[in-house]
């Protein structure tokens, strides 16, 4: 069943169109940086961008930081929001369930496909970022630089980049869980996607509001940029651990709600 869902997802031209669009922005930014040689000053703009002119090996991280606030969550929300509601809108959901693909099984398979999409997307963004970074910028094969100013060996840099890719993927799970939950509520994929995005916009907005500081630690977007902490020396694990735990709670609660709703729902589409 999971294989079936993966086949459906990755044989769909739209999936790859989303991945392509997602990669277009970091590539464009890289090209502009090379042409103008105007890097943002350290501490401004997306993380790592100020450093890539000196070391292109950091560009995967800059690329992730560029797509993380908006593009990546939109992509994840589109795919996850479409997962159940898209089948309902196309009418294929009733045939799947009458086949029968058990409701719980279908939901698990949809979740697995969304997870695969998140992982593939993040890895592709990082890989394209690496290619772009090493071809357009000077890569320093000997060492990288941590945010704290100390030097990192290429092995350390590589390992931490892999961890960062993993952390960004985990950060997206909350979005995916919101969109999947909304997707079981409605027969409109657009509605589910917009619902998930509304949550994210609200979360980002509340995060900037001082009055909302009591709930700030529980906002789904709160620890998204904590992957930067992986490049401090030593690594600051506190926010990373909290980010993973927070996403875990969101995913657990929302999936339970999605399951409870989907398994007792009348399929009228």
């Amino acid at each position: 069943m999971i294989l079936v869902e993966l086949r459906k997802l990755f044989r769909r031209p739209r999936t790859w169109a989303i991945v392509a669009v997602l990669n277009a922005l970091p590539v464009l930014v890289a090209v502009l940086l090379v042409l103008t040689d105007l890097a943002p000053r350290p501490g401004e703009g997306p993380p790592f961008l100020s450093a890539v002119l000196r070391n292109g090996a950091l560009y995967p991280l800059a690329a992730l930081a560029i797509v993380l606030p908006l593009f990546l969550p939109i992509a994840v929300a589109v795919v996850a929001g479409d997962s159940v509601a898209g089948e309902a809108q196309a009418g294929t959901l009733r045939y799947l369930l009458a086949r029968p693909a058990g409701r719980t099984r279908l939901l698990v398979a949809k979740l697995a496909a969304v997870l695969a999409f998140v992982l593939v997307t993040v890895v592709v963004v990082a890989a394209v970022g690496y290619l772009v970074g090493t071809t357009l910028f000077d890569a320093e094969p000997i060492a990288g630089t941590s945010v704290s100013g100390t030097s990192l060996t290429p092995q350390e840099l590589g390992g931490r980049t892999v961890l960062a890719v993993g952390y960004v993927a985990v950060s997206m799970l909350g979005v995916a869980a919101f969109a999947l939950f909304f997707s079981t509520l409605t027969d409109s994929p657009l509605g589910a996607t917009m619902g998930a995005l509304a949550v994210l916009v609200a979360s980002s907005l509340l995060f900037t509001l001082d009055a909302a500081s009591p709930i700030a630690p529980y906002l789904p977007t709160r620890y998204w940029l904590a992957f930067v902490d992986l490049f401090r020396d030593p690594i600051l694990w506190r926010d990373l651990a909290r980010g993973i735990a927070l996403q875990g709670v969101y995913v657990g609660v929302l999936l339970a709600a999605a399951w409870a709703n989907f398994t007792t729902k009348d399929i009228k589409s």
Partner: protein, 306 residues
């Protein structure tokens, strides 16, 4: 003969609206059951409850001898369904659509999958359709593909909702032949339709739904059994009345209904009296008359409140 579909006191309540009201369906093995009802009478809701898509408010459903929706995992692989029109992934070919559908549930081994898909496509007349994506199919082709999906696992029971929707007359007769052939092979067919002619040609047993209630459930042969009268067509209706005094039940232009279940006897009397007879038949109610008598106004009608 065991019951293939049996429901007892089946109810579906949507808020204040009772879409399905205490329905007791009985479909026996080997039936071609015509489930009739106007649009909005609760047919589709009932079909969806049978297949476990809509959960009943109360009542029981037995499908192939097992309780639904609990036993859905075991029962549904033995049921083929076409529910309210076909639905497919438009960017994939018909073959791939069927393979994906087959792979997404139990009861269809992947070893035999491509062979079964090819057979189902042949059965519905789509054997040569090739790799064209479904979005390029005509409405009739999609309907055929939907039917192929229902036939994939050689089901014991076919539940079909409006299976000839969107088909041209040749297509309709082809599908009818296919269903009759499957029926001869032992498949029980549950056909939901609002097309009386289709049901009359195909079914052995009918159930009629009116505003959520099952108002009629009977063998078709019983419903359309001769009434014991004979229909005479003649250009001289007044002569019939004169000859068969007291036996004439009704006169409608050239059509006279006469009491007496033996057309030969009626004919002999009329011809003996010199009445020209152009047509003679046993009087049988049509399914349409039966259904109209059993049901009220169309539920599509929304009268102004009094």
């Amino acid at each position: 003969m065991s019951a293939v579909i049996a429901t007892r006191g089946l109810v579906k309540q949507y808020g204040r609206l009772r879409a399905v009201d205490r329905i007791g369906l009985e479909v026996a093995e080997g039936d071609v059951y015509g489930f009739l009802g106007a649009n909005g009478s609760g047919k589709t809701t009932t079909v969806r409850m049978l297949l476990g898509l809509v959960l009943a408010t109360s009542g029981e459903i037995d499908l192939l001898g097992e309780r639904m929706p609990r036993a859905g995992r075991r029962v549904l692989p033995r049921v083929g369904a076409l529910i309210e029109g076909p639905a497919h992934y438009g960017h994939l070919s018909g073959r791939e659509n069927l393979a994906l559908l087959d792979a997404s549930g139990r009861g269809g081994s992947w070893r035999t999958r491509s062979r079964r898909v090819a057979e189902a496509l042949d059965q519905v007349g789509l054997g040569g359709v090739g790799r064209r994506p479904v979005k390029a199919y005509s409405l009739g082709m999609r309907q055929r593909l939907g039917l192929a999906g229902a036939l994939l696992r050689r089901p014991e029971l076919l539940v079909l909702d409006e299976p000839t929707n969107g088909l041209d007359p040749q297509g309709i007769s082809e599908i009818r032949e296919l269903l009759l052939e499957l029926h001869r092979g032992g498949t029980t067919v549950f056909l939901s339709s609002h097309l009386l002619a289709e049901v009359e040609q195909l079914c052995t047993r009918v159930g009629v739904l009116d505003r959520g209630r099952l108002v009629l459930q009977e063998q078709l042969a019983t419903l359309t059994a001769p009434t014991g009268a004979t229909v005479v067509h003649t250009p001289a209706a007044h002569l019939v009345r004169a000859t068969l005094d007291g036996r004439v039940l009704s006169v409608d232009g050239e059509r006279v209904v006469v009491r007496g279940g033996d057309p030969a006897e009626v004919n002999a009397l009329l011809v003996g009296a010199g009445v020209p007879v152009t047509g003679l038949a046993l009087d049988r109610p049509t399914l349409e008359q039966v259904v109209l008598a059993a049901t009220g106004a169309s539920p599509d009608r929304v009268e102004a409140g009094g």
